[in-house]
């Protein structure tokens, strides 16, 4: 099982979501995709999109105003 991290720091919506969508296509079921973000709008739409598609989602606050959205492909 592998882990892929994409850096979306400094990027506003919808860029993180599009990047996440593309990256998720490339990985296998069971793999983890970690999306690093610092725009709070992405904190809403990235997890919402991932959950809607049935994936497992967890958000970790790395620093003040900086998060990692962890998505497990299902």
């Amino acid at each position: 099982m592998k882990e892929v991290t994409i850096d979306c720091l400094g990027e506003a919506c919808p860029v993180p979501l599009i990047k996440a969508e593309n990256a998720l296509k490339e990985i296998e079921v069971g793999d983890l995709l970690i999306v690093q973000i610092d725009h709070s709008c992405a904190m809403k739409n990235v997890p919402e999109w991932a959950r809607k598609n049935g994936h497992n989602v967890e958000i970790e606050e790395v620093d003040d105003g900086e998060w990692e959205v962890v998505i497990e492909k299902v």
Binding site: M1, K44, N56, E58
Partner: protein, 407 residues
């Protein structure tokens, strides 16, 4: 399956709304390692409210989001950790409780349930397409955007009718869909009279939502008359649904006491029927659901958690020793005769402290330790052998009877 990472905390709070964050602030300030698990955004339901004018301390009013951000900062100040994910499973029995997310298992001495609830929806066709795009649940939040427009309100309870009246201050017309026969509403009589007298309100009796129509945004709510089966399309800007509230308690079913409506039952100390598990805020069976009431719940549970953990530690290290038999005297310090007996026990302690150990438990402040011993009436003495309660003596407590029991 990926191996789940196990982490230990003193307190795990499920839900990061007003109640959960307040509980965490109290626990964190008491130097308990505290984790909040929130499935969506920190702040909970209060963040949906644009203006909170009745939360004390903010005479100019405050936005729900702004207020919750302050709660968040305060919790962080006391080193509360936040994890944004949903809880999949809990194990609540026993000393160490488990809270499972998709990647982690959190072990905790205390679990505080602050999972709140969500508005009930009609389940009508195409409803999902318009949630947040014309279907709303909070008049306070969305009223101003409907100035001069037509809105539909679903429901006839206190919330529906009172919010409906509020909406007439902005909207041109408020159409209320009510499931009952003409003249019957679920709300209080005062609200009902005010609504019926309000010229901007129009009532569709015996109706439910059949389906929703629109393109990107909602355009039309199509009601159905239950008696005539007739479809009644109503063009509107927003449809407000006020048909109740569903507590988020699915994962706790069968594990703790829950009312038939799904709310968690607690006593006034926010304790559920499972030791070390508390419930606070909107998820709890209670009279009023406001930020102010959530804060009170949270404070109570936070302090309760601290006491419970301190007692657990004292219980293991001082009361239930294994090396020699013990005498645990349980008494109420405000009763004179029980204080007298205390001095008897203390005299005995001087003579026998090498053979037995003695603990004195005052129930005046907290009954926690007494409950753990299984002592329900006072005064009483629990005789402890091999780290377990051997017997409980409630009558004729004397040096002789205790020595006999200790043999």
């Amino acid at each position: 399956m990926r191996e789940k990472k196990v982490e230990q905390y003193d307190v795990v709070v499920i839900g990061g709304g007003a109640a959960g964050m307040t509980a965490a602030i109290y626990a964190g300030r008491a130097r308990l390692s505290t984790l909040i698990i929130e499935q969506a955004l920190v702040g909970g339901l209060a963040t949906n409210t644009n203006e909170i004018e009745n939360y004390p301390g903010f005479p100019e009013g405050v936005t729900g989001k702004g207020l919750m951000e302050l709660f968040h900062q305060q919790a962080k100040k006391f080193d509360v950790k936040f994890k944004l994910t949903d809880v999949r499973k809990v194990e609540l029995e026993g000393e160490i409780k488990k809270v499972e997310t998709f990647r982690n298992i959190y072990e905790a001495k205390v679990v505080i349930i602050a999972s709140g609830g969500r508005p009930r929806v009609t389940g009508a066709d195409k409803e999902e397409d318009y949630l947040g795009k014309g279907i709303a649940f909070c008049a306070t939040c969305d009223a101003a955007a409907n100035t001069g427009k037509t809105v539909v309100v679903i429901g006839s309870g206190d919330a529906a009718i009172e919010e409906g009246i509020f909406l007439t201050k902005f909207a041109n017309k408020v159409v209320v869909s009510i499931i009952h026969d003409e003249g019957k509403m679920d709300c209080n009589e005062i609200a009902k009279a005010a609504a019926l007298a309000n010229s901007k309100m129009e009532f569709q009796w015996n109706t439910v939502v059949d389906h929703f129509e629109g393109d990107e945004e909602l355009k039309t709510v199509v009601l159905k008359n239950l008696k005539t089966e007739a479809l009644i399309p109503i063009d509107c800007h927003t449809c407000f649904e006020f048909i109740g509230y569903i507590p988020n308690t699915d994962i706790f079913k069968g594990l703790i006491d829950i009312t038939n409506k799904g709310y968690i039952v607690t006593n006034e100390n926010m304790e559920t029927n499972v030791e070390g598990v508390y419930a606070v805020g909107d998820v709890r069976d209670r009279y009023l659901r406001q930020v102010a009431t959530c804060v009170g719940d949270g404070a109570t549970a936070g302090v309760g958690a601290e006491k419970y953990i301190a007692e657990s530690e004292a219980f293991v290290s001082h009361v239930m020793k294994e090396d020699k038999p013990g005498v645990a005297y349980v008494f109420n310090a405000i009763e004179a005769d029980q204080r007298e007996l205390l001095s008897e026990i203390e005299k005995m302690e001087l003579d026998y402290k090498d053979q037995y150990y003695f603990s004195k438990i005052d129930v005046y402040k907290s009954k926690g330790l007494a409950n753990r011993l299984g002592v329900k009436e006072y005064p009483a003495v629990a005789i402890i052998k091999d780290g377990k309660v051997d017997c409980i003596i409630t009558e004729n407590i004397s040096k002789e009877s205790l020595l006999k029991a200790l043999k």
